[in-house]
């Protein structure tokens, strides 16, 4: 990453940290919080899909597993949300290990099919184990996040805002460090030239297992936080719609760029929320997102942000 871009990212972080001073209504803050959560999921998907080139289409299953881990631990076992949220990261990583076993050896389309089917299977398990998961109705009235007597929902979601921003920041920094490390470089080598990478002693199968588990950790934690924040766990998190939305964040932001999907997540969450407010667009907004995703793939495969880059590039030369 160039110095310019890291300065830009740092400036964006400072701005986002100052937002609550300006934005005091709880609805706008709510959209920011959702955007931070989606952003965390999107960057971690970018790790496996974009950086490692692993055709993982079951990423939302890790998110959903985090959601249900936190929900079940807090309702059935009365565990504190502070423990239940990180537990989501643990179970998601374990699930990733399970799915990585067959995926490590598969090629091409079969990776897509197995990971996709895995996500659908998670939904069916959640729907069928109604005693534990609440079935189609889901689990509701999860406990609030609080320290002592202070509930994080108070002061217009002040506490939740910073927890969500912190989660996104930690996740992005971890991924940036990982991308620059020898491990990150080996992932790109596996993506761009698997035969050469193998010849240089990189085990493709082992990197795949590791990258799937690594991408699941923060995704599961984000899922746990999502459940506690919204105080519900519903099987919709495994559905097509959320997956398409987050996939479009990865693609519009530019697969493999890590920072791109974060900005795309912010922009798209606000755009879809704005559309949800317009009558008649509640369903249509998903169509709009899908069309945008197709257009980006068609016009700017490196992501919408890349368009701006290309517009600026000739000027820099002159």
């Amino acid at each position: 990453m160039t110095r310019n871009r890291s300065l830009f990212a740092l400036a964006a972080l400072v701005l986002l940290a100052l937002v609550p001073a300006v934005v005091t209504d709880s609805y706008t803050r709510h959209i920011f919080i959702i955007a931070f959560i989606y952003g965390t999921v999107a960057v971690n998907w970018d790790l496996s899909l974009g950086l490692a080139g692993l055709f993982n289409f079951g990423h939302l299953a890790f998110f959903g597993i985090g959601v249900y881990t936190a929900a079940i631990l807090t309702t059935a076992l009365d565990l504190s949300p502070w423990l239940a949220i990180p537990a989501g990261g643990l179970t998601a990583a374990l699930a990733a290990l399970l799915i990585a076993l067959p995926v490590a050896r598969l090629q091409g389309i079969y990776v897509v099919l197995v990971t996709f089917a895995f996500g659908q299977l998670c939904m069916q398990v959640v729907l069928s184990q109604g005693d534990l998961t609440g079935g189609a109705e889901g689990l509701v009235r999860l406990p609030y996040l609080r320290i002592g007597d202070y509930s994080f929902i108070r002061d217009f979601r002040f506490g939740y805002y910073y927890v969500a921003l912190g989660l996104l920041t930690v996740s992005v920094v971890a991924l940036l460090l990982l991308a620059r490390s020898p491990f990150g470089k080996s992932l790109r080598a596996v993506r761009d030239n698997p035969d050469y990478a193998t010849a240089r002693g990189i085990s493709v199968a082992r990197q795949r297992v590791l990258v799937l588990c690594a991408s699941a950790v923060f995704t599961g934690i984000a899922g746990g936080f999502y459940a506690i924040y919204l105080r519900v766990a519903s099987p919709e998190v495994f559905g097509f719609s959320v997956a398409t939305l987050i996939l479009s964040m990865v693609l519009i932001g530019g697969a493999g760029s890590i920072l791109g999907p974060v900005f795309a997540a912010l922009a798209l969450t606000f755009a879809t929320e704005a559309m949800a407010g317009i009558r008649g667009l509640e369903e249509a907004r998903f169509i709009v997102v899908a069309v945008a995703m197709i257009l980006v793939l068609r016009i700017a495969p490196a992501g919408a942000i890349d368009i701006f880059g290309r517009l600026l590039a000739p000027r820099r030369k002159s």
């Binding site: 289409f57 598969l106 090629q107 389309i109 079969y110 099919l113 369903e283 899908a290």
Partner: protein, 289 residues
């Protein structure tokens, strides 16, 4: 056990027939273009809704509904190929990109359907009334028709791709695109043909399924996952392997439902699938890609 075994086998045959119809459509596109069509389930749903509109709302009868449903699916399928697949031919990441574009297409279709027709459940009438005896088990005539129809359609498809000139051009394009073009085969037309045929199969399955289950915007989503399990199991390479795997999965699913109940069946099927893939990464009957 004896009393339930035969009905279970019959219901397994029914499931297998439906999966075979769906999965053969997926396999047809895959062998010709190297594209996996994630909108296949949504095409099924579209077929069922159009058939319902024509046959129930307009009152033109089920036969007209069948024609309209299949026709609509074919048009949508050819449009998907034209708009979402064709621009990416020759792209290094074509397989991955088309997974995403067809996934987007399925979202567009599914949401569009729910906007047009609303959330209320609909049901298509059965093609045949009454019951028949199959191996001593009473089955509705409609389901018996599916069990008979599926192998007939598969056989026709096998005959078409193996014995006719235009069917063999599909396989030629799938095996070697440039050589096929040199032989004078119109490659882009063949791609449209593959998508249209596959969509026709999807539409047919949708209309048939629409009188067994309620027609909802998600009608095709569940069977699509099962059809995916079928193609992973059988490998995507050949029609015979896909059809064989469809019947294996259908029967296995019916037996599992009998032994373990409806709830655990999907999980056990999936674990079985993972085990198969750990030892045979190209599917049970598959060859290396």
């Amino acid at each position: 056990m004896d009393g339930v075994l035969i009905p279970t086998l019959v219901s397994g045959l029914l499931l297998g027939s439906l999966y075979a119809l769906m999965a053969s459509g997926l396999s047809l596109i895959w062998t010709t273009l190297g594209v996996f069509n994630f909108a296949h389930g949504a095409l099924m749903t579209l077929g069922a809704y159009i058939a319902w509109t024509v046959s129930e709302q307009l009152g033109l009868g089920l036969a007209a509904g069948f024609v309209a449903g299949i026709g609509a699916a074919v048009i949508a399928g050819v449009l998907i190929e034209l708009l979402l697949v064709r621009p990416f031919y020759g792209n290094r990441n074509m397989m991955l990109i088309t997974v995403m574009t067809t996934l987007a297409a399925s979202t567009i279709l599914e949401r569009g359907i729910s906007m047009i027709w609303g959330p209320r459940l609909k049901q298509l009438p059965r093609t045949l009334d009454g019951q028949v005896n199959l191996l001593g088990a009473p089955v509705s005539a409609h389901e018996a028709l599916i069990i008979v129809l599926a192998p007939a359609v598969l056989l026709a498809l096998w005959w078409y791709t193996g014995r006719t000139l235009s069917g063999r051009s599909l396989r030629a394009v799938g095996q070697n695109r440039s050589a096929a073009a040199l032989l004078g085969i119109d490659v882009p037309r063949t791609f449209s043909l593959a998508f249209g045929l596959s969509a026709a199969l999807a539409g047919l399955t949708g209309v048939l399924l629409g009188s067994i289950r309620f027609v909802t915007p998600g009608l095709g989503a569940d069977p699509l996952v099962n059809a995916m399990i079928v193609v992973i199991f059988g490998g995507l390479g050949s029609l015979g392997a896909t059809a064989g795997a469809a019947y294996v999965i259908g029967l296995l699913e019916a037996l599992l439902v009998l032994w373990l109940g409806l709830y655990w069946t999907p999980s056990v099927l999936f674990v079985a699938l993972i085990l198969v893939l750990v030892f045979r990464p190209n599917g049970l009957f598959g060859k290396a890609a």
